[in-house]
């Protein structure tokens, strides 16, 4: 495996057609991470790097998740003291996987998010920051 390590950073704004419970939004974040991880074939089903997401919630909480394996669901935590339904979610995504180039990671992230958006009934506007090169 090529030892390239090139980070991908994406900002994504999700707009929900109807107010969504934070738990459902957290499930969607987990589905996105799982979709990206599924495209990172690696020894033993493990992701040779990390795939992380973070989203602040309006009441001061957050959703954070990470995926390091395709054999287990992503680890997603929801910290939402008020439990306010969401109409929008701003998500930061970091992907840093050995051998996964920036363009490939970006394409994978968008494809996985399109699938999640269709499944969960939201639209998204996602920008991928330019590559910063390899480590």
């Amino acid at each position: 495996m090529h030892a390239l390590v090139e980070p991908l950073v994406a900002h994504s704004i999700w707009t929900f057609a109807r107010p969504l419970e934070p738990a459902s939004a957290a499930a969607a974040v987990g589905a996105w991470l799982a979709g990206i991880a599924a495209g990172c074939p690696a020894p033993g089903g493990h992701v040779m790097g990390h795939i992380k997401a973070y989203a602040s919630l309006p009441a001061g909480g957050c959703i954070q998740g990470n995926a390091t394996s395709t054999r287990q669901p992503p680890h997603v935590e929801l910290h939402e003291p008020a439990g306010t339904a969401l109409v929008r979610l701003d998500v930061t995504l970091n992907v840093l996987v050995v051998g996964l180039e920036h363009a490939a990671a970006g394409g994978q992230a968008i494809r996985a998010l399109d699938d999640v958006a269709t499944c969960h009934g939201f639209t998204h506007s996602t920008s991928i920051l330019p590559t910063q090169g390899e480590h």
Binding site: M1, A3, V5, P7, L8, V9, H11, A42, P43, G44, H46, V47, M48, G49, H50, I51, K52, A53, Y54, S56, C62, Q64, N66, T68, S69, Q72, H79, T92, L93, N94, L96, V97, V98, L129, Q132, H135
Partner: protein, 200 residues
């Protein structure tokens, strides 16, 4: 000021360990700060740590073992001059080489600097990771003053035992501590990380 430099591959559990240490130190009455480094220009870990109310300095968009190495010592000096923490936890990117970080911090103008390297090892993945990124993982373990094998809550017993054997092979200077993210750090590990000047 004690400085703990965490070293571990991407996704190995460094942020979880950093937060466990920070909570233990706060509970012991210590002032805690964190320096969080991420390769991307917009980080994830820094947002999480800041949300929890810890004093955080962010070094983003590069790696503090190479492209951002010149910013590390000034960040530590700024903390020492302002919030004067008892403990600073440095969480580098998962592809950083701790020896270079330690070398950079030796030049920091911080009185009483007491620096330790903590190797964070992922019990679930270390076997496979060693096949792919051997030189980096070897370096991350070789310079450790302490090693923690984490994810014991989700790894199998054979995986955890194998991880301990790998640590023993590459960091024979330290016996690994096995930790579970759901549990507070045990007394011996807290002592090793935080020193004796704590109140428990």
């Amino acid at each position: 000021m004690r400085v703990l430099v965490l070293a571990g591959f991407l996704g190995s559990g460094k942020t979880t360990v950093a937060l466990q240490i920070a909570r233990a130190a706060q509970a012991a009455g210590q002032r805690v700060a964190l320096i969080v480094n991420e390769r991307g220009e917009a980080g994830v870990d820094n947002q999480l740590v800041a949300r929890l109310g810890f004093d955080v300095r962010e070094l983003l968009g590069g790696c503090i073992c190479c492209s951002l190495v010149a910013e590390l010592a000034p960040a530590l000096e700024a903390l020492a001059a302002t919030t004067r923490p008892d403990l600073v936890i440095v969480e580098p990117s998962g592809i950083a080489e701790p020896a270079q970080i330690r070398a950079a911090l030796r030049f920091a103008r911080v009185p009483g600097l007491d620096m330790r390297s903590v190797s964070v090892v992922d019990a679930q993945r270390i076997g496979e990771l060693m096949e792919v990124v051997t030189p980096l993982l070897t370096k991350q373990m070789a310079h450790a003053d302490l090693a923690v094998v984490c994810k014991a809550d989700i790894a199998s017993t054979p995986q955890t035992e194998a991880a301990c054997r790998i640590v023993g092979e590459h960091a024979p200077q330290t016996d690994p501590y096995v930790i579970d993210a759901r549990e507070p750090l045990d007394g011996a590990l807290r002592m090793a990380l935080l020193g004796r000047c704590t109140r428990w």
